[in-house]
Subunit: 260 residues, 2 copies
């Protein structure tokens, strides 16, 4: 069975989700607290509106496909094709007014990520990959992305969304990598992985990811020549502790420190 | 003597600096190391080209004015009007390909900040203030900015560029504030202060600032109704340890914890 080309459809999903989200960006929305009494986890109306719009379009166009989304859970998760959606990855950046968030649209076929898009509607950027090729589009132009072949950790730039999101033990492990790296930078969410695909960042290390945080990212990073695995080297698409690297040398050096 | 209106001229400076910088954004420039053997402090050709272009325009238009810039030092720093320039505030974000940097163009009159602009040429945003009014412009539209009247620290969003930039003692003090705040976010540089002016962030706390990191910021934050001081409550325009808040209540609560 030949793989279907979903490129155009993914663009449609990005367009409708962007239209749903942008009117809410930098407006003073009251953020709901998803974990009542727990950690601060803002959910905006934008998040829900965008996911609802994408789900509607998917169901209308491909009724046999499954959907897993951050806001509305799983439908037909065992279908051949399953869409894995995070309408606003980086909700904390979003509520701070920062452009460091994006809409993640991933597609798995028989459980394996085969297509991913990160759409940043405020900057008008689209990063998309199918594991073989990754494209950046923005401002009416486009570019094929390649990761940087960073020779070693001492030359590497490492990003994580925030060390505060890690358990104490994992934070210690992350600190070991950070201490050897040339530069570290926080606060990226999905944008960090896209900058890794673009060759400006060499390592992204995170924990406690959900599948919808990472499924769309994998074909983007791999299509640009990068590597995404769990901290132990296993597959990353189930989420958890994830490490993405632009080069094999950096990936191995960082994994050794995370494990050691 | 009436104050001159420099609004149009500041826009011109922003335009020429943006034109000098943008061709270098997301290209693989070799970053020079300013502190040979010291901490990683990337300087790009973009930084130098933009400051040179702004200096040239200032000298040609206002030969009696002074200039203090990050890249090329001070000229006539005791003049009535002194321009205080940081062509790329957030060089680390810049080299990571992230849009969280900006060009800071400040103007002091008799030593006091009277005009400030933060220009983000990639997103096409301009934040400008004169201490009485602050404007955001982008995408052909504009908006007057006001800080949020956050009632207390437990409701506040706090930002800092990175706790790693602080001394251990200051980091401990910062952690006290962070522990009481609702949400903390890293990695903003000048963008954080602009989001404070826009009412999405309540506190920005930083250390080791240079005058060119903060002079342009002060009229932007104050023009939106916010407060910028040193950690001890003194004036902030000389740099050092700086705290900016959107409301008096949050400013006082945070200052007490930073001092305590």
């Amino acid at each position: 069975m030949t793989a279907v080309d979903f490129t155009h459809f993914v663009d449609e999903l990005a367009t409708i989700s962007g239209s749903a989200i942008l009117p809410f960006f930098r407006t003073h929305l009251a953020a709901q607290d998803k974990n009542a009494g727990g950690a601060f986890d803002p959910v905006t109306e934008a998040d829900k509106a965008a996911e609802a719009a994408m789900r509607h379009l998917i169901k209308r166009t491909f009724p046999a496909h499954g959907i897993i989304g951050e806001e509305y859970g799983a439908e037909q998760p065992d279908a051949e094709y399953v869409w894995v959606l995070d309408p606003i990855d980086g909700t904390k950046s979003f509520i701070c007014g920062l452009p460091m968030w994006g809409t993640l649209i991933g597609l798995t076929r028989n459980g394996i990520p085969c297509h991913g898009m990160m759409h940043q509607p405020f900057t008008g950027e689209r990063f998309s990959g199918d594991g073989k090729r990754t494209l950046w589009r923005g401002n009416g132009s486009q570019r094929t992305l390649r990761t940087r072949d960073c020779p070693g950790l001492d030359q590497a730039t490492v990003m994580t969304t925030s060390p505060l999101l890690m358990s104490e033990e994992n934070r210690e492990r992350f600190r070991r990598v950070e201490a050897k790296a040339r530069l570290s930078r926080y606060g990226g969410d999905c944008y960090s992985y896209c900058m890794l695909a673009a060759g400006f960042v060499d390592l992204v290390i995170e924990t406690n990811l959900q599948p919808y945080d990472i499924v769309a990212i994998i074909p983007i990073v791999e299509g640009a020549g990068g590597i995404v695995t769990a901290w132990d080297g296993g597959p990353a698409h189930k989420g958890g502790s994830v490490i993405a690297s632009g080069s094999r040398a950096v990936h191995e050096a960082a994994m050794a420190l995370l494990a050691g």
